[in-house]
């Protein structure tokens, strides 16, 4: 598919701030499943910092905005050609060994319920089949309902609630996979919401599980599938915060509000 993205994040500050510092993971990953045609990130009043590819293969770019400023707009626009690799992250270069992704973090820490959920993979025929079973179990256990959870909800809390959004599904998937001994990570990106009537989040998140012999394979419990050509992958991490497309901080004292719009469209090929 040929997908276009228009993603605007607007930060508004109650009182002008002296400076804004951000770290972006907003460039599509380089692997066989996607190819960038054009891609631009702009930050209003922003000074670009050094850019580099980190050990997980993500393009990271720092930005700073000099104050006083009461509003900062981060705009991402571009087009990406995608192909369906059935979730396999083929041709992705990275230095971090998969084993690093066995370590849990606060939002992905397994409680008794998550440990019990991970038993769904028992008797699976190998890690790939185990991961599929786990993704199905997570989808069954956590219903998609926007507003039920918040940015800091943990996998354990979402499971107890039985409701959540893609972030919660991804956290839960990562947690149960790690319990089952499979390296797993959180992935952030975009999803083209097609006309199938399902409620999707265009700014999306899913999980990847490391399967020996195959490499990293994506699983999207929120949509009961593996990422295909409707997905654009940006970056990964141990959890949502670690994989966040934008991490930022403002030097100031007032309140901060955030407004995000994301449009992902399919273009004629």
């Amino acid at each position: 598919m040929l997908l276009s993205v228009d993603h605007v994040t607007r930060y508004r500050y109650g009182l002008p701030v002296r400076a804004v510092m951000q770290s972006h993971r907003l460039t599509p990953s380089v692997f066989d499943g996607q190819k960038v045609r054009d891609w631009t990130v702009t930050v209003s009043g922003g000074i670009p910092g050094g850019s580099f590819r980190d050990g997980a293969g993500d393009r990271v770019q720092g930005w700073t905005v000099k104050g006083p400023v009461s509003e900062v707009e981060v705009r991402v626009t571009g087009t990406v050609e995608t192909v369906d690799l059935a979730g396999v992250l083929r041709g992705h270069r990275e230095v971090v060994p998969p084993e690093v992704y066995l370590v849990d973090t606060l939002p992905t820490r397994a409680d008794a319920a998550l440990i019990s959920l991970s038993k769904s993979a028992e008797g699976a025929d190998g890690p790939l089949s185990a991961a599929h079973l786990l993704a199905g179990a997570v989808a069954d256990a956590i219903a998609y309902r926007p507003g039920a959870t918040h940015a800091h909800t943990t996998a354990a809390e979402a499971l107890a609630l039985g409701e959540g959004v893609c972030q919660d599904h991804a956290h839960a998937m990562v947690a149960v996979a790690r319990v089952a001994g499979l390296p797993a990570r959180y992935v952030s990106g975009y999803l083209f919401a097609d006309a199938d009537g399902m409620a999707h989040e265009a700014a999306h998140a899913w999980a990847e599980v490391f399967v020996a012999g195959l490499g990293w394979v994506g699983f999207d419990p929120a949509n009961r599938c593996c990422p295909d050509d409707r997905y654009i992958r940006l970056g990964s991490g141990l959890d949502a915060q670690d994989a966040a497309p934008i991490r930022g901080i403002a030097r100031g004292v007032g309140s901060e509000s955030l407004d995000v719009t994301v449009a992902v469209q399919s273009l004629q090929q």
């Binding site: 951000q22 980190d54 700073t64 971090v96 690093v100 901080i249």
Partner: protein, 479 residues
Amino acid sequence: MAVGPGAVAVTQYFNEMYQGGKVRPPYARLEDWMKAMPAELRTLKQAEAEDLFRRIGITFAVYGEGGDPDRLIPFDMFPRVFTGAEWARLEKGIKQRARALNAFLVDVYQRGEIVRAGRVPSRLVYQNEAYEKAVAGIRPPKGVYSHIVGIDIVRTGPDEFFVLEDNCRTPSGVSYMLENREIMMRMFPDLFRENRIEPVEKYPEILRRTLASVAPEKCSGEPVVVLLTPGHFNSAYYEHSFLADLMGIELVEGQDLFVEGEFVWMRTTEGPKKVDVIYRRIDDAFIDPLCFRPDSMLGVPGLMDVYRSGGVTICSAPGAGVADDKAVYTFVPEMIRFYLGEEPILQNVPTWQCGKADDLRYVLDNLSELVVKEVHGSGGYGMLVGPKSTKDEVAAFRGKILADPGNYIAQPTLSLSTTPTFVAEGVAPRHVDLRPYCLVGERIELVPGALTRVALKEGSLVVNSSQGGGVKDTWVLAE
């Protein structure tokens, strides 16, 4: 010499001054000095030393112990002495170890050859809480992660030295090495005329040169080096300001620095000044809220992006802690063989990993004979010295180990050497250790001296200042 109830046990320790009733050559002149000093003079001198320390402002705040945060660390006037030959061997061993530790760090953040070769277990490295995924693939300037390697060494015989642990992050205490010397020279100038003692006062200059030698590629001209401190509430704040002062560099806190564009800048009265090298005394978790702990107020937002894109050097490099973990320690001799193709000059203490079932069984069966430490512990907290503990203490510790075996390692109780130390009754042997500070940059350097810590309590083997330890001036005699 005063001898107490511990005297019987003490005879089995190596006494660095006396052997077979005879004084060892490096201490010959000190024996005369000691004998010639009347008790009144000694009391007077001790008071003078304390006064000097207090005037200089060197104090040591101890975490979690309450009491006077500005209390002085006890200073013992009796120097500890090494011959030039003894030191030459130690120096070779220390530098060898510092080279291997840095080679290990470069390796595990790149291809991890030592893990692939099966020489170090991968879990120990990649699931270590000190492993920083954020710096994987990053090669710091000159391939150095740990620029100041503090290696804790104990002696058990004339030629027997063992490494207790490595400190690759930000080892503290070097200010005591410098101050102890300064104060001894002021109080006993004659001693320094009678003995040919190698100087240590070049340390700050060498440290500064070492830091400047690892300036990032994007730096042109004379590098600007700063020392980043968490602030005056930190227990080592005195040392931070002392070192910055001696090096002639700015002492800054997180709020004095900011990131703009590709660089880190320091606020000055003449406007922003670009910073090239940061000698940080802040833990990884706190140096950048955009990369590590988001609630940290001590760090510099955006610092890690500048570091990783080559705009600034951070010393020690983030992630260096994976080499000085007490479980990884076991494999340092392996690192020396693997990276340098050499045999270790300094030996490791045999170590049992409680995370391994066989080792755990041995440790539990021999708890009252062993020293047990937390893998990530420091400062002498949370450890058990079996032979010095009561039955109840041992039993309580057994419970702690069983609750989380992987968090503990155990070592035999070493017969730490003793050196003469001034005590209330006169002079008596007390156990000591040694912490040299090896500097690694473009070159690898070691000043002929170190911090000697002394367990002031009779019979005690715990030298940490937080546990009633004191310090001594440490001499290396010129050959």
